[in-house]
Structure formats: structure tokens, C-alpha cells
């Protein structure tokens, strides 16, 4: 067991040791002050406080909505709490895990950890080469003690026998004078150090992933494809060291997407199967291969992973303008709003003439008549697909090239189409149906429904480091918790009548182990027993 001047006993040492020396407090200079600070920071007590602080600081992030996980819930929260919301925002409650105070705690913790580990590695390196400590004068004062009288006067043979017994029990043995000193369990501290060093590598792996990694998502309609370049992403986040030349030039075509939902009485509507059949081309010119992409089976393409993380509906519509020309035709992505896939979306036909047309509304995969309530879907599968829209028209827009959100409609410059009674013109479409717009402005047809999948493409280069480090951490942890260092001393003293007195003393360096007394007694018995057979030897 090792002790350092900066941190008192390790995970396991039962005996208390003095904390940082405080005698020199009055004449602290700058260096002394720094040293004192360092000693404080790397002390076990500080580590304990920091651990508690880390646990406490992590809690609010699980109770208050987090911007990274659910931005909508954060805005809802701020809207619902007009006074608390901005305060929370200011102190970083909506991004707890990247907030300065949370970062400060774990960085301090790791500094403290490093401050503890470095001296302990040195101490351990010396301890591991050291021989077992000398035999104490009074073995009977040790926590476990046994003695036995042996009927032989050959102390050297007894000592050799004792050393052999201890070596067989995998002790490191030192024979000196009339006694044997033995120690075992050196790997405990090694495990302890491996565990703590591994934790640093776990963080390092996470850091590498955060700096060099990227993650983005793309919505791909079934039948269409995705090729891995920045323009194809709907959202994209990358670390500071990431460059888009790091994107592997693969492409993925979604041929089919199968989804099944529970139709039985229990958990009706729960998802039971997601499966996208995709064709992957690893790089331009490579032979395409067919793969099934499922929830727990991501694709791995040259180090980049592709996950299937969402899906939804894309009604296929055809919009004709007032001149009878097709202004838009194809599937339109609608975004699910609830578990039954009541989906919202916008259909834009900017090329319609003389006026451009736009539609806004919801898609219900299983529409049910719910009286006066807002229309919604009753089941996530497309059993009764219905598209409910309102229509807008306006003079053609000047092409500016400015990007436009495809999921929302900016109604500036548009007027809503009304019925002759003045109410908003409402369109309800089912597959195959066509609705003519009022005043001969055109028509909209829904020819069917297809689905889209949301692919997440990403690379976190630190994962192998973190994963390996976790493996080492668990292994080191097991060593440090299950190996029980122990010291045993055996002394042979001459006794009356040509006999010898064998004394065995033992000390556990970790208090998790029982059986010290038994082991010591057993050693004493075995030594006297062996001698006993010698005694029978006629001499």
C-alpha cells in the first residue's frame, strides 16, 4: 500500500494518515501558497467534495429540459415560466452539461485525480520493487497472531519451510535472520491506478470525439437517395477540428422501408419493426451493395456510421395551376407531431402561374371522425390516410436564392383561398382524389402516400479509446476491490528442551477481508505439524 504526502490513504487503506501539513501556514509565499493549493486540490477530501458536487450538478439537467435534447420543450418552459425561464437561461440550466460550472467541476475533479495519481504512480513503482518490510519486534501485537511449539531445534529448516509455505501462497518472501517477512497483494494498488488513469482516457476519448467527430441527419424519402456531402444534411454538427474533406464519399439509396405496429390489445400502436432496405455505394464507382438497415444494426461505411433514427409520411401530390400545367408533383415530407403520426407539412408550388400556390396542413395516417375535436390520427400505420389542407395563392416571388424552410409557410405576399361564403377553403384528400381550387385557380391531387426515413450519419473517432479505457477501468476496479494485500511475518525462536517456538503474525492492508486469523493459525499449525512428522523421525 502506498501513501502519498498529498492524499491520505487510498481506496482501501484502513489506517488514517496525516493530511496536508499545515505547520508552515504563516510563512507561505507564492510558491508555498501554490503548493498548499495543490495539496488541497489533490487531497482525498477535496476529491470527495468534487464527486458530490458532480453528482449534484448533473441532476438539474435531468429535470429541466435541455436545449440539445429537446429545444421545443425548452421554449415551452421559457414561455410557461416568464420569470424563472430567463434566469435559468442565464445560468445555463438549459445546457447544464456544457455549462461553465458543470465543466469546472469535472475539470477540477480530473485535475485533482491527476494530482493524486502522479505521485502515487511513483510511490507504487518504488513499492513494487521493495522487499517486504522487516519483521516487527512484537508479533503478538499484530491484529492476528498465533504461536506453536515445535519439537525441533533446527531453526533454519523451519524458516525455509515457512518461506516455502508462504511462497506457495503467492507471497513475496524475505528471509532475514530468524524470521521470514512476506507480503502479497501488490496488484491492488496497480488496479487502483489503472482504474483512475483509465478514467482520464475515457474523458480523452470523449474529447477527441467532440473535436474531430461530426453528426448530422438527413430525411430521405423512400425511393430517393443520400450522398454524403454537406449540402445533403438537414442538420449538421461537427467538432472544431473537423473538415468536410473528412466526409466519406458514399451514397445510400433507400429502396424500401417496412414498419409494423402493434395491432393487438396490449400496447396498441407500439412500434414492432423498422427496417429500411438500402443500397450502399461505398465510393463513387464502387459496386453497390444491398443492406438492411435496422434500429440496432447501424451501417458502417469506412468508419462512418449510418443509423436509422426516425421515419414519417410523405403524401405524393400533384398540383396543377390555373393554366392546367403541372406546377408541382412528387412526395412531400410531413413531420410527425405525436405518437400516432399526426403530421404537419407544407406543399409549395412556386412555379404555378399566373399565381403561385401553397398549401399548409396536416396528414393523418389513420384519420377518424372525432366530432368537433381537432382532427388527429388514431393509429400510426397508414390505414386511412387523409390529407387536410388550406390553400394560399399570390403573385410569383422574385428569385433571390435566399434559403427557405421547406417545413413552414411564410404567408407574406400570399392570400388564403376562401369559399364563396368567406370561410377558409378546406381541402380533404384521400389517395386518388383530386380537389379543384376555387375560382379556377387550379387543382391538387393526392396520388398516394410514401414514407421517409431519417438517417443519422456520424463519426465519433474517440470511441475505441473510450471503450478500451472503460474495459481497463472495470478490470482495474476489480483488481483494486478484490485483491487483498496482506503481510505475514514468521519468527522462529529457540525454546526450552531443544524445541523451537514459531510465531506467526499477520496484518491486512485492506479491511475488506476476513480470514486473517484463520490463515495465521493455519500457518502456525502447518509449521508445527510438519515439524511434528520430523519429530517422529527417529534420530
Amino acid at each position: 500500500m502506498t501513501q502519498t504526502p498529498t492524499r491520505d490513504a487510498g481506496l482501501d487503506s484502513p489506517e488514517p494518515s496525516p493530511g496536508p501539513v499545515r505547520d508552515d501556514l504563516p510563512q507561505l509565499g507564492l510558491r508555498g501558497g501554490l503548493r498548499f493549493l495543490w495539496a488541497q486540490l489533490s487531497s482525498m477530501r477535496t476529491a470527495l467534495v468534487l464527486l458530490f458536487a458532480l453528482a449534484l450538478a448533473a441532476i438539474p439537467g435531468s429535470l429541466v429540459p435541455q436545449r440539445k435534447i429537446s429545444p421545443v420543450r425548452v421554449s415551452d418552459f421559457i414561455a410557461a415560466h416568464p420569470t424563472l425561464g430567463p434566469i435559468y437561461d442565464k445560468i445555463g440550466m438549459f445546457h447544464v452539461y456544457t455549462s461553465p460550472w458543470f465543466s469546472a467541476i469535472y475539470l477540477l475533479l480530473f485535475v485533482s485525480l491527476i494530482g493524486c495519481i502522479i505521485p502515487r504512480v511513483g510511490v507504487y513503482a518504488r513499492a513494487v520493487r521493495a522487499r517486504p518490510p522487516r519483521t516487527p519486534r512484537h508479533l503478538s501485537r499484530l491484529p492476528a497472531y498465533a504461536s506453536a511449539e515445535v519439537g525441533t531445534a533446527d531453526p533454519d529448516a523451519l524458516l525455509a519451510r515457512a518461506a516455502g509455505l508462504l511462497r506457495a501462497r503467492r507471497y513475496r518472501v524475505r528471509v532475514e535472520g530468524t524470521s521470514v517477512a512476506a507480503e502479497r497483494g501488490y496488484l491492488r494498488e496497480a488496479g487502483n491506478l489503472v482504474f483512475h488513469i483509465s478514467l482520464i482516457f475515457v474523458l480523452l476519448g470523449a474529447g477527441i470525439g467532440a473535436l474531430w467527430g461530426f453528426r448530422g441527419t438527413s430525411v430521405v424519402i423512400v425511393g430517393q437517395g443520400f450522398s454524403n456531402n454537406l449540402t445533403q444534411y438537414d442538420d449538421f454538427a461537427a467538432g472544431a477540428e473537423f473538415t468536410d474533406s473528412g466526409l466519406q464519399p458514399f451514397s445510400v439509396t433507400v429502396r424500401d422501408f417496412q414498419v409494423k405496429f402493434e395491432t393487438g390489445p396490449v400496447q396498441r400502436g407500439a412500434a414492432r419493426l423498422f427496417r429500411a432496405d438500402v443500397t450502399v455505394t461505398d465510393r463513387p464507382g464502387a459496386t453497390p451493395r444491398d443492406v438492411a438497415l435496422e434500429v440496432n444494426k447501424p451501417l458502417k461505411i469506412n468508419g462512418t456510421t449510418v443509423h436509422l433514427i426516425g421515419h414519417g409520411y410523405a403524401p405524393v401530390v400533384t398540383v396543377k395551376d390555373a393554366q392546367g400545367d403541372i406546377a408541382f408533383s412528387g412526395p412531400v415530407v410531413f413531420l410527425p407531431q405525436d405518437g400516432n403520426f399526426t403530421s404537419a407539412g407544407v406543399i409549395k408550388a412556386p412555379d404555378a402561374r399566373p399565381d403561385r400556390l401553397a398549401f399548409e396542413g396536416i396528414f393523418l395516417p389513420t384519420a377518424v371522425q372525432t366530432g368537433t375535436a381537432a382532427p388527429s390520427s388514431a393509429f400510426p400505420d397508414a390505414l386511412n390516410p387523409t390529407l387536410l389542407l388550406t390553400a394560399w395563392s399570390g403573385p410569383p416571388k422574385v428569385e433571390t436564392g435566399a434559403p427557405e424552410n421547406v417545413y413552414s409557410l411564410n404567408t407574406a405576399g400570399l392570400t388564403q383561398l376562401k369559399t364563396s361564403a368567406g370561410a377558409p377553403f378546406r381541402i380533404a384528400l384521400q389517395p386518388g382524389a383530386t380537389v379543384d381550387l376555387p375560382d379556377g385557380q387550379g387543382s391538387i391531387q393526392m396520388s398516394g402516400v410514401t414514407r421517409w426515413v431519417k438517417l443519422q450519419v456520424g463519426d465519433a473517432p474517440g470511441i475505441p479509446i473510450s471503450l478500451g479505457a472503460i474495459g481497463f477501468a472495470v478490470f482495474g476496479l476489480c483488481l483494486s476491490l478484490f485483491i487483498r494485500p496482506r503481510r505475514v511475518w514468521i519468527r522462529v525462536l529457540p525454546a526450552e528442551g531443544g524445541h523451537s517456538l514459531v510465531e506467526v503474525g499477520g496484518l491486512d492492508r485492506a479491511d475488506a477481508r476476513g480470514g486473517l486469523t484463520e490463515d495465521v493459525a493455519e500457518l502456525a499449525a502447518e509449521l508445527s505439524g510438519t515439524a511434528g512428522t520430523e519429530q517422529e523421525d527417529p534420530r
Binding site: 470527495l48 402493434e262 407500439a270 440496432n296 443509423h307 443519422q456 471503450l467 472495470v474 476496479l477 480470514g515
Partner: protein, 327 residues
Amino acid sequence: MRFEYYSSLSLVLSVVVYALAMFAHAAEWAAARRDTSLETEPERQLVGARAGGSGRPSPGSTPAPAAGESPEGSGAVRQRVEQFGRVGVALTLVGFLLSVVGVVCRGLAAGRAPWGNMFEFTTSAMVFIVAAYLLMVWKANLRWLGLPLTLLAAVGNGLAVTVFYVAVAPLVPALHSVWFLIHIVAAAVAGAAFNVGGLMSVLYLLRKRAEDRGQVRGYLAWLPTARRIDLLTYRFHAFAFPLWTFTVAAGAVWAEYAWGRYWGWDPKETWALVTWVIYACYLHARSTAGWRGSKAAVVAIIGLASFWFNFVGINLLVSGLHSYAGV
């Protein structure tokens, strides 16, 4: 259908039997109150416990009868305590077998491992907890933990069959993974050890307080010494902590497969980490001067509270990716 019926039947019966076991252990404690002998030599006990190595020595040998007490009266009390204790363990064993039957039938009914929702996880975890306890009763004479443990088992399975119950259903696609077996079994086994350790910590605090006051009487005199309880508690936690580390890591690996990120600060992940950190505190506290003993025991109890909150609170109160309680 039939398996599902037998599963529910066994589990409900197990609740009843666990409750009876709890009453037997309560009677054991109550009978021990009659034992007026005051333990006056904690030192002697300490040595005895160390020499014994495992658990309480044969219950007949302790507590030490106080001077001037009639040995007959004390002997009768001891016999009664012993009888109630044995009945408690026997009933616990019956309840355990019933809950094993219940969990196995549930698995057969669902055609998969029976830990896909809160009900199934609770009943499976209770099997692990009681198994750990019974094993230790057999190996290390842990019967003194009977009352809190049967209380936990009865309440756990009771909540499961009443509040958490959901009918058999297949799994959502996110759970179709080999990690479903690994991650959840590791969580359940680590949880079992944390629970047993936490209950011991409570008894440790009671016993320690009595020892510090020099008034170890009643059932507390039947407990091992505070030092011995502390040692056993530590061993349970030392077993559970690496396993919990593995559980969290395995969860991260699974999350990378299923959700495309290994750590996303989902509430369940956050609380798993919080629980981990608290138990790390416990291990450090146990070897820090001024934190050993009662303070460390309190930390262990806080850790257990955090474990429970992660299981019950996060499943029912907070929405997140781990929300498949189905309640």
C-alpha cells in the same frame, strides 16, 4: 395466456408469502426485545466475529447473557427468536420459488427474456435480490437482514403486480439487441447487491448508534457488530460497483447501436452516472479519515435512494428515451 395467468398467480402469491415472512421476522425482532440481556462486551464480540470469519456465530452462543440473569429465561427467549427467524427464512424461500416461477412463466408467455418493462424488471430484480440474500443466509448467516429484506421483497413485488403491471407484449425495435440481455441483467444484479448493501447500511446505523451509547439491547444485540456489518456492506458494494460501472458502459455501447450516440444525457443515463458517482463517493469515504463508519453508511443509503429514483422516478415522472415502463 395460460403462462401469463400462472405468472401473475405466482407473483401475487409471492407477495403474500413475502409478507408472511416479514411478519415472522417482525415477530423475531419482537421476541428479541424480551431478551433483556445487555451486550456489555462489544470488544469480545468483535474478536469473536473476526475469529468466526463469517456472519454471526451460531445464534445460541450470543448475545452474552448478562450477569445475574436466569439462563433458562434467556434460553427460552433465544429459542423463540430462533424459531421465528427460521420460519421467516423458510417463508422467504417459498416466496422466492414462487417469484422465480412467476418470472419464468412470464418469460415463457412473452417468448423472450422477462425484463422488457418496469413490471418485468421489478419482478426479475426482486428474484436477484432475494437470491443474493438467501445465498448469504446459507453462506454467511445473513438472517439478521430478514426483516428489511422481506419488507423490500413484499413491497417490490406488491408494487409490481398492482401499479406497474402491464400485459405481455413484444418489445419495441430499440430493445431488439443482445445488449438487452447483458445490460439489464448486469443492472439487476448490481441493483440487487446495492439493495442488500443499502439495507445493511440502515442496520449498521442503528447498531452503531446503540454501540456508541453502550446500550446494545433487543434485536440489535442479535445483529453482528457494527464493524462486521460495515465489512459485509462494503463487500456487497465492492461487488456491485464494478458491475454497475459495466452496466453503464454496456448501456453506452447499446445506445451507440440503437440511438447513434453513446452518451446523450438522457435522464436515465444521467441518473445512472449520478448513482455511480455517489457509490464512488461511498468507496472513497470509507477510506477517508472522518468519513468512515456512519457517514459512509449514509452515503451508501443516498446511493440506494438515487438508484431507486432512477428506476421509479425517472420511469414514471420524466420523459426520456428509457420511457418504456408501459404503465
